[in-house]
Symmetry: C2
Subunit: 133 residues, 2 copies
């Protein structure tokens, strides 16, 4: 069912510092910042040959990553995202196996594709996003 | 400098439960468990089309992931691993920029290749492994 690892999202307290580190020290290809007010984050993409890293900085007062950064002030891996061919079939399968999907109705993700998030307590303490491929 | 994302490592309290979930619910290709006494872990590889997920369970009394699981009993992303072409050049560059490398002399990693780990406090709260490609 799951396909490619679409991205690893890392929440960071300071986007520019993290981006500079990836660009200059680690020599990676780093995008310009992209503000996503509807998602409550500003993001910078690190393009690797086989996948992407997404650096996330809170944007606005109700950012969904604000709580994470309160608990982890230095930052940390916020979620990982797998691609699936049929997101509705994926949700049905996961729910049928007794695991919790945080939003049973897919919502529009940061890449303009439908996404769901699974409950981290049901998936080894890891917040997993599924994105329609 | 950094190339492919070699793997994402997830520490889990129960390897078989996590592996079953990836195999049956998420429909992924899952390896048999591999005990690595010299690394203090038992690992199962989840093979994705573009990278791997490594599930890690503590092995023995001095497992390097035991402390992580004490802090995160449900599990969680333990580290991410980037490939580099020249690990010695990578260490020099990172140190020259003032960031801490936990083991300046590369050690043999779980894949039989030299690896170093960078200090998570210097890298957005994320434990980053570099592996010689």
């Amino acid at each position: 069912m799951i396909g490619r690892l679409n991205h690893v999202a890392i929440a960071v307290p300071d986007l520019q510092t993290a981006a500079d580190q990836y660009r200059h020290t680690l020599g990676a290809e780093v995008s310009d910042p992209l503000t996503l007010p509807e998602h409550g984050v500003t993001t910078i993409f690190i393009k690797l040959p086989n996948t992407s890293i997404e650096l996330l900085e809170p944007l606005g007062e109700n950012s969904p990553i604000a709580g994470f950064l309160t608990k982890n002030p230095a930052g940390g891996v916020h979620h990982i995202c797998y691609e699936v061919e049929d997101i509705h079939a994926a949700v049905e399968r996961i729910a049928a196996d007794g695991y919790r999907v945080l939003n049973r109705t897919p919502k529009m993700g940061a890449h303009g594709k439908p996404v769901v998030f699974m409950h981290p307590k049901d998936f080894s303490g890891t917040l997993v996003e599924l994105e329609q491929a």
